[in-house]
Symmetry: C2
Subunit: 334 residues, 2 copies
């Protein structure tokens, strides 16, 4: 049995969408139990049609408040002590859940997670890490926005944690790590990446050096390390471009009757391409470096994407993400 | 008559590719004259088949050296005083060319351009600016990598220069400016973007506030301002993702006989989409803020993309880019 605390109130969608996502996740994973956190009046109607076999693996944990998507991290910590986000994280802290998931605002989630769970010994800051589709599978990238900047030491720690997650959660034998920069030559970049380059070269990790934005997709490395500002901009840039391309395809394949017909014939192929790049399949970014597992779902995640984030939390819990990171960092004396 | 100095030796391709690109540009623009800079032995064979009508608008300017793609900016300035890159920029400085184009390495080009041409009075650093396809036309973005960091004041200057280029070169009446950040709320981001936000809010520009990576494509703003590190990573990320998607489409449309057939039928539509997003059509990034016009072509540009960069240089020269920026900055007392 594996218990995941699910904040069903935070995010761009209605609680019903997230509750339905949780039902999907439960259906796909017979060991999973969900603690749905939020206002019972918002949750219960969405559970009315759930079969008993799922219903018995669900418990409601009431929370009276909701952290708004534009709420400041400070306000969230100070004034929203009974928010669904805070209560879900508290459940992890208290050992009542193995992990938690929220589609709430990144700043508030990061701050609350740091405040409640604290970072592991030796870890300065937790980072948000996610898998991104690439030429030969996927690339693991961090930090995607937990922090707005990073020191050289923090970048080295991100590289260490990224390596552990890629190895112990995703099963890559010896993950290759690259540091995101504006060129591959050793002399490129600002002082922080230069210092981090030196630290990483001496780290004992399988560090291959600087990589550029295109290498996120090229398969040249398994783990791409960057600060949370650059990482978040890169992530949002990808999402924006993918959605622009999808819009253009939709528009052009409906421009005339002939184009519509072509679209109909091409649909199976286009669907395969879309599925292989579908960000929903990659939803669920782990906050790594905390004393407990927190998974951040995309704010606009639909039920399928949200179910994926819950499965991600279950995977991280099963693979003992936190213990692996803690042990590895102790071993390396970070 | 408009003279463009063209560095045909620097870049990932052979000189022949760039010379052919110059011929394309000359064919498309009857007023254009090209000063092809490089080793005559590398250039002349590529001109052998050029018609006299184009040939008479071409002059060769010899340069014995070439700046390597991985050469350090310092070395390029010190030791490559007779490189094609340096000579092309010198031609602008001496008033013999209205603008210059190079596909050479960004660091060396930026450093040499700053060294030879200097920034305009009041401008701390020049920035690299380019048009990027978006939902409703294109978005102008800077800095794409001239600098590895930027101060708040420099970001404000980038916004001012970006506004002038969008208005006076691209004809947008009142360009909306956004500052790239990890969220749209006023409280988001690190200290530099916070300070730049304050400067921009008081600047008299049509500043709409923070934007996220996705807004590069959404059409929400006309000018996106960021530091050269973030901008370069975002640009390379776009290019990498676009190429991943193109590869996936190619692979899936050739997976089986049936898929091949679907691909044949869908090809006209796919070609339209590809053309509308083709980075070659957007090749040619202006270095703005210098006392002369320098256009940076993508290093791997083919003849068509390189021709586009030359046309970009011609457009910037015709619209008196440098004078517009100089006047506007004097007027604003920057």
């Amino acid at each position: 049995m594996l218990s995941i605390a699910v904040d069903v109130m935070s995010g761009d969608n209605e609680p019903r969408e997230y509750v339905t996502g949780a039902l999907h996740a439960l259906r796909a994973d017979a060991e999973l139990h969900a603690l749905l956190v939020g206002q019972p009046a918002s949750i219960e109607p969405a559970l009315a049609d759930a079969p008993a076999s799922l219903r018995e693996r669900i418990a409601l944990v009431p929370a009276t408040q909701v952290v708004a998507m534009d709420e400041s991290p400070r306000e969230a910590i100070r004034r929203k002590k009974d928010s669904s986000m805070r209560v879900a994280i508290d459940l992890v802290k208290e050992g009542r859940a193995h992990a938690c998931v929220s589609a709430g605002n990144t700043g508030a989630l990061t701050a609350t997670a740091h405040f409640v769970l604290k970072t592991l010994p030796g870890v300065e800051r937790a980072a948000i890490m996610s898998a991104i589709p690439s030429a030969h599978g996927h690339t693991h990238m961090l930090d995607l926005g937990a922090n707005t900047s990073a020191t050289a030491l923090q970048l080295r720690q991100f590289a260490e944690m990224g390596t552990i997650v890629a190895r112990d959660v995703y099963g890559l034998e010896s993950p290759r790590v690259g540091l995101l920069n504006v060129g591959e030559e050793d002399i490129k970049g600002h002082q922080v990446v230069q210092e981090a380059h030196a630290l990483l070269s001496a780290s004992g990790l399988r560090y291959v050096g600087f990589v550029e934005g295109g290498d996120i997709f090229s398969g040249a490395v398994d783990v791409v390390v960057t600060d949370g500002f650059t990482g978040n901009v890169a992530l949002k840039t990808m999402e924006g471009l993918a959605s622009l391309i999808a819009d253009r395809l939709r528009r052009e394949f409906t421009a005339s009757l002939r184009d519509r017909l072509a679209g109909l014939i091409a649909r199976p192929v286009l669907s395969r391409v879309a599925a292989s790049l579908d960000t929903r399949r990659y939803n669920g970014a782990c906050m790594v470096g905390l004393s407990g597992i927190v998974v951040k779902s995309h704010g606009s995640a639909d039920r399928l994407a949200f179910a994926r984030a819950i499965s991600m939390a279950a995977l991280a819990a099963r693979r003992s993400l936190t213990a692996h990171i803690a042990q590895a960092l102790v071993a390396q004396g970070s």
